[in-house]
Amino acid sequence: MSAAVSAAPTSGARVLAEPAGPGVWRAVVRTGVLGGAVALYLCLVGIVPVFATRPLIVGVIELGQAALLMAFGAVGYLTAHEVGVERPVRAIGAAIGAGAISGAVISALVLIGAAIDIRAVFLNASPLLYDLLTFSEGTSWAWFPTLVATGTAGLAGVLIVLPRRYRTPIIIGLGSLIFFGLFAGLLRTPMLVTSLADLARFLFSSEGLTVPGAITIFFGSIAVSVVVRTTTPRARVRALPTAQRRLVVGPLAILLGVAILLFPLAMGGFFAQVIAIVALFVLLGLGLNITLGLAGLLDLGFVAFFAVGAYTVALLTSTAEYGIAGLSFWQAVPFAVIFAMLFGAFLGLPILRIRGDYLAIATLGFGEIIRILAGSDLLKGLLGGPRGIINIPKPIPLPPTDPFSGPVQIYYLALACAAIVAFVAWRLQGSRLGRSWMAIREDEDVAEGMGVNLVQTKLLAYMLGAGFAGLAGAISAALVGSIFASSIQLQLSINVVAIVIVGGMGSIPGVLVGALVLIGLPELFREFSDYRLLFYGVALMGIMVYRPEGLLPTTAAKRELHADLGPDVIEGEDDGDGGGAAANIDADTSAVEREASA
């Protein structure tokens, strides 16, 4: 990142000094070749051919082609941006040049593909792909991708030289087209059963937008963005005095809360299921946020506690084979949480003295041990092995016709638990215990010197995190209605760590945002099955590279990564965490000692 940042001004300076010098050419060639590589990647990895039949706008454009066009558009946009928009003609020219280079890569793919059999290696270099790229005209139309790329990049170049007040609405319009085109089917289904059915049919087809729908959404979102730009509601609200601001923000927050509560009833089972899963991961994330975010103990085996919670509930409530007690869900949950905590203590004790990355690999080992044991023949008689435990009752047994049966019920349960746990976590953060955790995270030795009992404090972090994970496991078992050894996966531990880091270490709202982005979005993209994890990986890298502090970081973390924030920002927000912690702990310690001596 630093390389890119430092390169931009120098090349800009060079451009100003000598017009159309080598800097421009270099930018054109580099972006063009990179863009060509990306386009080639999109073709060969299968995104272009596989989604060639998935419409974005019915009868106009398919998702596969749209992905290529976006790549070419990005090439034009970035090139024009890099050579500088202050000279529009040159910027557009550069965009066209770079687009031509990118397109030429794809044209070359068509020609080479006709000459030698690339398909022996790359499965997606199929006749379907070539037909798609040349409108089934074969190599005689190999020039076609170059033409399209040049045109698209040129248009993107034109877009960027437009003044901002025209540019932004157009980009927002295009963005909404893509957004609604992707989610058209998902939005349409629940709308059809309501009074919005006609609107749904007008805007969306079962996959993608209709033509009138696309036009409406494009101009509609442009209109909205223009209105927002001209009226600037956010800045106005911010400018209000505090009391009045509350009057505006308060009702909005209540409205949002009501919307969240009514959401699954309005949107139907699928969304309820997605949100229930997100809420489960929020629970897991909040648990790990204590162990990792506050106490700094990297746990890559979090799934172990999840498994303990899930299997406890399964064993205690299942009405099928392996069920041992036939309790109700509510009677079983406390056991699940307690067992998970005991397990946390049991696993935590031997590895308390291990530090850093050694701890990560040790916990990863524990997670794997639990996963393998759950599926092994050794415990088959107890846990059912790969066949698992089925017939786990829902918390409130209702007939399947009831709107609150199934995922909707779990949604409310998970939401309520997440809210309670978030409250507990939030109260813990500022407590003596929370401050001890943060002190340990920053420096174990100093924390110990300040009178923090490392063993007890770490163990508590472990046990609480484990308890939350156990709760999530219990709810998950009830959500799915069964638990199999195959649902205990390393990927789950990794997901939870990613949620905490992507959200922002130690930040409770961050966990929420992290779970929405990393769990909710991929769940919505179910139809892109094979490519979901590809995008997930790209997103993880992208977020970390461009926002290493996380999406919603705590002030302390933000300060660490952006030392340029200035001292007054730091002064104002420094109570409770980081620097203040040591002194507070010191005071608390003497209080405890007084108690002990009394």
Binding site: L292, L298, Y358, I361, M544, L561
Partner: protein, 358 residues
């Protein structure tokens, strides 16, 4: 100062727990081994076969572990995508093997086949090195100064990206390495019941690792790498280009992983897009076992892990009548890991580089 009785009590309880933990494991290991050995179910040649399997597996773990340990030594980060670098090498070797087989090079002619295998290893190394350079440039370099967990997440992202890129490129099917006649025959080594391919794996791995060790210890570039992993700032003052040393570390680690990919393909025959995950984790475990940051440690740890995994389940558990002990090989391996970490936190060879890292 007041003595805190509660703290003392908990410390005592924890010490007791640790003692019990250690005792229980030792009891299981000793008692299990005795029961198994005296049950007489397994003959000597069975044990030697297990040892042979363990050596093959261990050699591959060791080669992958080198990449983990070297990158960890220099950047203090877990290169989670390293398993996928290994996978990429296996794929590169596979396509080279197919091409060689079509050209009629993989026949019973041992010399020609061996040369073809060297060619496969070179192709695999090239693929792996290209992947590693890309990952380093895109996912790690921008994060050199970020908090420790940030590159870890980025690495996990890179790992998923590579896995599903390969899935997109080559599908989710299993690719089988072509059959090379003489490799499947048993090697005439007394007691050890090994196929030629396993001998090849072990010998090639040992040769490459020795070459690497000499390179890192003796050559000027190797010295530069060690200097940078010791202290970046001071190394820079001595005129060493830290960036170059870091990139070179990735290149060497990837080359070893790529070669390991071919060896894995030759021995186990099956290559899929997801094949890198488990060996990756195991190899990292091996690196930790040997003492992360130490090159001989990684080799030793890999061999140790391979052997424990192959021999351990049968030796320690089958005596108790545990069913299907081979399902539990990872349990044995990871228990060993936890034991080593708990009772000898710096690994078998005792290198300590984690100080001050939370």
């Amino acid at each position: 100062m007041h003595v805190r009785n509660l703290d003392r009590l908990t410390d005592l309880a924890i010490d007791a727990f640790m003692l019990a933990f250690r005792g229980a494991i030792i009891l299981v290991v000793v008692l299990g081994s005795l029961l198994t050995l005296f049950s007489g179910v397994y003959t000597l040649s069975d044990w030697f076969e297990l040892v042979g399997n363990g050596l093959t597996l261990g050699a591959i773990y060791a080669m992958i572990a080198l990449g983990y340990t070297m990158v960890y030594g220099i950047l203090k980060m877990i290169n989670f995508a390293h398993g996928e670098i290994f996978m990429g090498g296996a794929f590169g070797g596979y396509f080279a093997a197919v091409a060689f087989a079509q050209a009629g090079l993989l026949t019973d002619n041992v010399i020609v086949s061996l040369i073809a295998i060297v060619g496969m290893i070179l192709v695999a190394m090239a693929v792996s090195v290209a992947l590693a350079l890309g990952v380093e440039r895109i996912a790690y370099r921008p994060l050199r100064n970020a908090p420790t967990l940030v590159p870890l997440i980025s690495a996990i992202g890179a790992s998923l990206f590579l896995q599903y890129t390969f899935r997109g490129f080559f599908g989710s099917g299993i690719y089988a390495y072509p059959n090379i006649g003489f490799l499947d025959q048993n090697a005439p080594i007394p007691l050890l019941n090994m196929r030629w391919v396993d001998v090849l794996v072990v010998v090639a791995a040992l040769a490459m690792m020795s070459a690497l060790y000499m390179f890192v210890m003796r050559s000027k570039v190797g010295t530069a790498i060690r200097a940078v992993s010791e202290d970046k700032g001071t190394a820079a003052l001595m005129g060493i280009d830290a960036n170059r040393a870091i990139v070179l570390t990735f290149v060497i680690g990837a080359a070893m992983a790529g070669a390991a990919g071919v060896l894995y393909g030759l021995s186990f025959r099956q290559v899929t897009f997801a094949m890198g995950v488990i060996p990756g984790i195991k190899a990292f475990t091996a690196a930790v076992l040997g003492g992360i940051g130490s090159i001989p440690g990684a080799m030793l740890g890999g061999m140790f892990l391979g052997l424990i995994e192959a021999v351990g389940p049968t030796l320690f558990l089958s005596g108790f009548g545990v069913p299907s002990v081979n399902q539990l090989k990872d349990v044995v391996a990871f228990t060993m890991l936890v034991l080593v970490l708990v009772f000898r936190p710096s690994g078998i060879l005792g290198v300590r580089v984690t100080r001050g890292r939370a």
